[in-house]
């Protein structure tokens, strides 16, 4: 036990020492030579006969500038069922092309408590396993169940065991979660730069928002349970929220610079604008700081997270001294990423917080349930510290760090020497053994893309197989209740993903799925109108609503699921009651008649005519 404690102690001290080693003289070069936003674009290509592979490229990013064709960053599979109708499309998979699977060695190291370095470059081999989708948008509940299961396992089985088991399992799990989050944020960063349109060669803004939302929600424990309808809204809102944060932090930092006599400069990095900013110390004995001593600036320095440079004597002979780089994406305040004068500061902060977490939960074994008061006190401390201008949210810090490392890797306008130095600083922030160098990851993204592209061309390849499985799983869920779907998900999780409820392979599966998806699309659309509780023809062109009702009418006879028919009936009734448009009401009546008297042909027409005549004034 003592030996173990000694080893742990050595590891912590080494980490601190390594952090301090990074100190170097202040850089003198200007931060940016030229700011030029790189062009992001989609490339669409068929994936078999009934799907599309859409790949997001950066045309003038980092390594891409040296080779033609741009740098592939992220790909999505859009299941089109082989037609041009957007209503039955589903974005199914997301690949983060820069994502490298951790090697066995990395995994082993990640289970070592207090081991806060990443070793080596990660695997340079890119095989078929590396083109496994990063995220499956059609099964967002599966990771929720898996994660809840792992949490339960940790709390109930691993935590009560001896300290080494608890500490290693917790260290491994923390690293794994952080690693996943880092890449989720990376994918989100790319998608936020992606163009969108209703053209088939790009994702639509709704699709982009939905994908972003699903990735954002993956960061939350129960995020996968969010309904499809809310996901798009969530994605859009999260974009607005980020914009709000950015503007606020931009002004907060500028104003703090003004108060403290520093110079504020926004930096465009890797195609992003207004996400990063640098503070400089201007020339002269007092620089810009004149007559400011009448105001207590301690809270402002605390917010900036750097030491007051005006108190340091050694700043002669330099025109402009860079002090720090901040991310403007952190909620509530600018986040210090690089302190040019105290280069171990940010690493020390990360390290301290991580060490405390490992000591309390891994070594001592403080539990959220038995020792809740500790966590209440810790939360209270975090709250007070954040009210005093400290960035206490570790997860959000990780997100900002992820964005910065990617922006830096994609940038080519920054002074190369400075970029290199910044990359070293960023690299020093990495505490996760599972992590690999961003540049290395980006280098192999092209190879991953080639493999994926080749796979997409194969009609009977692994991807086609997987897509077929997804479609059959979707077919199997048609008409199921929420409970049933949940149970199927639980079985999937319990079997570690080996079991998934699927419909049998059959000739007409694609047609059935097409009907189902179009009906879902129409129903969701009409439900949205009905939920507003107001006449729908004011909000949408009546022709568009009528088209949905007509299509629904044509699809409903083929629907056997009771709940689906009831849902459609409810929606059509409500729509008819709300609408003041005579022909739309008539269409609803016709659709209802065709549902209520499913004996087809002339009978339905007669019944509908009856109802229609009742509707006419």
């Amino acid at each position: 036990m003592h030996a173990l404690a000694r080893i742990l102690g050595v590891l912590v001290v080494c980490s601190m020492g390594m952090a301090a080693e990074l100190d170097a003289p202040w850089p003198q070069t200007p931060i940016v030579h030229e700011n030029r936003p790189p062009a992001y674009y989609w490339k669409a290509e068929p994936a078999g006969k009934s799907a599309q592979l859409l790949t997001l490229f950066c045309g003038s990013c980092g390594a891409a500038s040296d080779t033609p064709g741009g740098l592939p960053l992220l790909a999505v599979l859009r299941d089109t069922l082989g037609d041009e109708n957007g209503g039955n499309d589903r974005v199914t998979y997301v690949w983060l092309l820069s994502y490298s699977r951790p090697t066995l060695g990395q995994r082993l190291l990640s289970a070592v408590p207090f081991f806060y370095w990443h070793v080596g470059q990660g695997s340079s081999n890119v095989g078929k396993r590396d083109i496994k989708p990063f995220f499956n948008l059609r099964a967002p509940r599966h990771p929720v169940l898996t994660q809840v299961g792992r949490d339960i396992l940790q709390y109930t089985t691993l935590d009560p065991m001896m300290m080494p088991v608890r500490a290693t399992s917790r260290a491994y799990r923390t690293n794994q979660l952080n690693h996943e989050r880092l890449h989720l944020e990376e994918a989100i960063s790319y998608l936020r730069q992606a163009p969108s349109s209703n053209a088939r060669s790009e994702l639509s803004s709704v699709e982009v928002n939905t994908v972003i939302a699903r990735l954002e929600l993956r960061k939350k424990l129960l995020g996968g349970l969010v309904s499809e309808r809310h996901a798009t809204k969530f994605g859009e809102e999260s974009g607005f929220e980020q914009e709000r944060n950015r503007s606020r932090n931009w002004e907060l930092l500028r104003n703090s610079a003004e108060r403290t006599g520093l110079v504020f400069e926004p930096v465009a990095l890797g195609g992003t604008t207004d996400q990063y900013a640098v503070l400089w110390l201007s020339a002269g004995p007092t620089g810009g700081q004149t007559e400011r001593s009448s105001v207590d600036l301690s809270s402002t320095w605390k917010l900036l997270g750097i030491k007051d440079p005006w108190r340091e004597a050694n700043r002669t002979g330099q025109d402009r001294i860079p002090l720090a780089i901040y991310s403007l994406n952190y909620p509530n305040q600018p986040l210090l990423l690089v302190d040019f004068r105290d280069k171990s500061r940010t690493r020390r902060h990360e390290l301290t917080q991580r060490t405390i977490n490992e000591v309390t939960s891994g070594i001592i074994g403080i539990s959220h349930f038995a020792n809740w008061y500790y966590y209440v006190a810790a939360d209270l401390y975090d709250f007070v510290a954040s009210r005093h201008g400290r960035a206490m949210n570790q997860a959000e810090r990780l997100d900002c760090y992820s964005q910065f490392r990617v922006s830096l890797a994609l940038d080519r306008d920054l002074d190369p020497q400075l970029r290199k130095e910044l990359q070293q600083r960023v690299s020093s922030l990495s505490l996760n053994p599972l992590e690999t160098a961003t540049a290395h990851e980006l280098e192999s993204s092209r190879r991953r893309y080639s493999l994926l592209e080749a796979e997409a061309q194969r009609p009977d390849g692994w991807l086609a197989q997987r897509l077929d499985n997804e479609r059959r799983a979707e077919l199997a869920s048609i008409g199921r209740t929420g409970k049933s779907k949940f149970f199927a998900g639980a079985l999937h999780a319990a079997s570690l993903g080996f079991y998934t409820r699927r419909a049998p392979r059959a000739e007409g599966n694609l047609a059935k799925l097409d009907s189902y998806r179009r009906m879902e699309y129409d129903l969701n659309f009409l439900e949205g109108l009905v939920n507003a509780g107001t006449p729908p023809e004011i909000v949408y062109q009546p022709a568009r609503i009528q088209a949905a009702v007509t299509e629904l009418t044509s699809l409903l006879p083929g629907v056997s699921s009771g709940p689906t028919r009831a849902r459609a009936q409810r929606t059509l009734y409500s729509l008819r009651d709300l609408s003041q448009d005579v022909s739309l009401r008539a269409d609803c009546s016709f659709a209802l008649a065709s549902m209520e008297r499913p004996f087809g042909g002339t009978h339905v027409a007669a019944a509908a005519a009856e109802i229609v005549s009742e509707d006419r004034p």
């Binding site: 503007s247 606020r248 002004e251 110079v263 809270s299 004011i538 062109q541």
Partner: protein, 754 residues
């Protein structure tokens, strides 16, 4: 024959039915009920552009309901402006009363007693209401004391349903409780899981209020209903992202649709007037971040006078635990470099600011002569003061007091008479009257305290030979500013003793110029430059101009807009309320405040000499028509509305005694600031937290251009291009509802039946 007679009968019957139906369709019942949708901070241009833009996904307008209700079937005022300062409290006060402003800031301070009128803070009101200490929001209390009724007061209380807002009478606990229940209901938890986020209390409160309103619409006995939403204002302060703003507007649009639908379902649907109004615009420009200039920092600093500064909120409140205090109303930021009041910040703060105004700040400074007295008394306290200087200082003190003797004596006698008026005991169970009586008692005590200091000063005989024995606190009132400063005082304002101390001239008199430090505030403010201005859209000068009232000339009021020493504009008003402009120095030229001379949108008849027209007397209507499309829209009228003697706008309650009316007028006059600072475009003064989106408060058209749209009850589809302002709103509604309205402010609108 039989057939012919029968045919005639049928024809006549058809004709009769036709006539009846025709009459029925044109006989629109006069409006009896009004439903007001009050949207805080909605700019007409933003609304208009979103209404006109077609959403490709729907094939309809981005705001389909607002387009349908008002754009296609209602009356839209294309040029409706905030009158006066474009801030929430003053703007809503004008809208909901239809009377000239008696509230001129979001926070106001009584210069004699330091009482804070914080019009935006709901928490003290709710707490006070729960403890049966308060009945109405502070704004309503002020209007009640001034004798100005709200629009809803024109209806019996049982016929009204008011939502939560700045000018709120009472609290509907039921709605709050309902909102709380919704917030923690099973439905809310499911929704939280489903949507990935917990609904905010504000949003559930809005839902509960809407449900209340819908129930109210079903009740044919309720004739006044309103719904206030501040969502857009909050979002527009936070971001200028057009998509984010349109997203919030879509919410307002859907709300308008639901309300309109509920109105159409109600029994009074044909007699209901649906009105949408906003209090002011908002200076949102896509891609531009609004930058803050800190006036407290400037006033704390030696060049700014090293004042201890009072604000109504904490600076950077998000980074202070104290910033969580919901009851906060006065925050003192001490200056570490005070020239003569070190460590006395809590007793003698000398600069009080209303910076909630964003693009405009109201500044109250302690009376210049009180500063001089304070400095001289501190000197007289010293035992080491040489005899010659002591004598000069004592004489100076005496002279200052003598200069004020007449005015202070009048103040003492008049106010004593006003304060000694017996108060009417409150009717049993009338909380409102009980509260007012309690407020009067508190005021009486505070004012008497101030008057006691004046009396002490008038009695005071400084000793020319020995150190001062009296306590300064017994002579100089604490937490008080005294009377307003004149424009001359502000340009030569004493902020402390000279670095070398008091100086005596050859004649043995105090040499004031050498004895004191002075600051020229208008010049100081306009010469401010900011180092960090990374945006090209912004000037490095954060201050546009300073506005202040000059002494009256004959029957004219005069106001000065100070751009710098060479750019000074005078606005004059005469007894007939006509207005004329004049450059303070030289002739008309470009660059003067408001930039009217060079503004291409100044609408004058062809061939008119601009300089001649601007210098001539015109009535308000002429000014509004000529200037409303200019960059500063109704700035001329706004300055007059904001700086004119406020006491003239206090009518008092019906039957009020002259002395009591004089007291009410005085109380309003005592909250007037010394001067107003207007921010340059895209600058703001909000130091509480950054407002990087848009701001308001200035006379820039983007900040004053507001929304007024009406529909229902026979109002025809029409677009009104003639300009109107807040003063026209309530009178026009009252007129449409067939109720008495002030003449001259009603916009003549014919209903379909007329």
């Amino acid at each position: 024959m039989k057939k012919g007679r029968w045919g005639r009968l049928v024809t006549c019957s058809r004709l009769a039915i036709g006539l009846f139906l025709a009459f029925e369709t044109t006989l629109i019942a006069a409006p009896r009920r009004i439903v007001l949708l009050e949207v805080d901070g909605l700019n007409q241009d933003l609304l208009e552009s979103a209404m006109k833009r077609i959403d490709p996904a729907t094939g309809k307008s981005q705001l389909p309901w607002l387009s349908h209700i008002f754009g296609e079937n209602g009356t839209v005022f294309e040029n409706f402006y905030t009158r006066g300062i474009s801030l929430s409290a003053p703007s809503w006060a004008l809208l909901v009363t239809g009377e000239h402003s008696v509230i001129r800031g979001n926070v106001e301070y009584d210069r004699y007693t330091g009482q804070v009128y914080d019009y935006l803070n709901f928490f003290p009101f709710y707490l006070g209401y729960a403890r049966q200490k308060r009945v109405d929001m502070p704004g309503v209390e002020v209007l009640d004391r001034a004798g100005i009724p709200l629009l809803m007061d024109r209806f019996p209380p049982a016929e009204t349903l008011q939502s939560f807002q700045l000018f709120q009478r009472g609290v509907r606990w039921g709605t709050l409780k309902d909102a709380l229940a919704r917030r923690f209901s099973a439905e809310s938890i499911v929704s939280m899981v489903e949507s990935g986020d917990a609904p905010s209390y504000d949003s559930v409160l809005a839902k509960a209020t809407e449900a209340d309103l819908e129930r109210g619409l079903e009740n044919p006995e309720i004739f006044y209903l309103d719904f206030f939403t501040g969502d857009l204002d909050h979002e527009a302060h936070a971001t200028s992202d057009p998509q984010a703003l349109v997203s919030v507007l879509r919410g307002v649009d859907a709300l308008a649709g639901r309300l309109w639908h509920a109105i159409q379902q109600s029994s009074l649907s044909r007699e209901t007037l649906f009105v949408m109004v906003s209090d002011h615009g908002m200076n949102n420009t896509p891609g531009v971040i609004s930058q803050t200039f800190s006036l407290p920092d400037l006033l704390n600093s030696p060049p700014g006078g090293s004042h201890h500064v009072v604000t109504n909120r904490h600076q950077m409140s998000d980074f202070k635990l104290k910033g969580l205090d919901p009851m906060v109303r006065r925050v003192i930021s001490p200056s570490a470099t005070s020239f003569y009041l070190a460590d006395q910040a809590s007793r003698y703060p000398t600069a009080w600011l209303d910076i909630d105004g964003n693009e405009r700040a109201a500044v109250h400074l302690r009376n210049n002569d009180l500063n001089k007295l304070h400095i001289l008394l501190l000197a007289l306290q010293r035992a080491d003061l040489d005899a010659r200087t002591r004598r000069a200082a004592a004489v100076a003190v005496r002279e200052i007091i003598e200069r004020h003797r007449a005015a202070w004596s009048t103040t003492i006698s008049d106010m004593t008479a006003e304060l000694d008026l017996p108060s009417k005991p409150p009717a049993a169970g009338d909380l409102r009257q009980r509260q007012e009586l309690s407020d009067r008692e508190a005021e009486r005590s505070a004012y008497h305290g101030y008057l006691a200091h004046l009396e002490a000063l008038l009695r005071f005989q400084p000793d020319e030979q020995h150190p001062l024995k009296e306590k300064i606190a017994s002579l100089i009132p604490e937490m008080s500013l005294g009377d307003n400063n004149s424009a001359a005082d502000l340009e030569h304002y004493v902020v402390g003793p000279a670095a070398a101390g008091l100086a005596v001239d050859a004649a043995g008199r105090l040499d004031e110029e050498r004895s004191f430090r002075f600051v020229d505030y208008p010049a100081l403010l306009v010469k401010q430059r900011v180092r960090n201005v990374p945006q090209r859209a912004l000037d490095s000068r954060p201050v546009d101009f300073v506005a202040m009232r000059l002494p009256d000339q004959a029957e004219e009021h005069v106001y000065e807009l100070y751009g710098d020493a060479d750019r000074r504009l005078l606005i004059r008003t005469d007894a007939a309320n006509r207005i004329a402009l004049a450059p303070a120095r030289g002739g008309w030229r470009s660059g003067l405040p408001l930039h009217l001379f060079e503004d291409p949108r100044l609408d004058l008849p062809a061939g008119t000499d601009r300089a001649g027209w601007l210098s001539a007397w015109h009535n308000e209507r002429e000014w509004l028509e000529a200037t409303h499309r200019c960059r500063y829209s109704d700035g001329v009228i706004g300055i007059v509305e904001d700086l004119s003697p406020v006491e003239n706008n206090v009518p008092g309650r019906p039957g009020i005694a002259p002395v009591a009316l004089r007291y009410e007028k005085r109380r309003r006059a005592l909250v007037q600031a010394d001067f107003h600072v207007f921010a340059a475009d895209h600058w703001n003064f909000n130091v509480r937290f950054p407002n990087p989106g848009g701001n308001h408060g200035s006379f820039l058209r983007i900040s004053t251009h507001s929304v007024w749209m009406m529909a229902g009850a026979g109002l025809p589809a029409r677009r009104i291009v003639e300009p109107y302002d807040s003063l026209n709103f309530a009178p026009t509604l009252l007129h449409l509802l067939g109720r008495p309205a002030p003449a001259g402010r009603v916009v003549s609108l014919s209903l379909n039946s007329q």
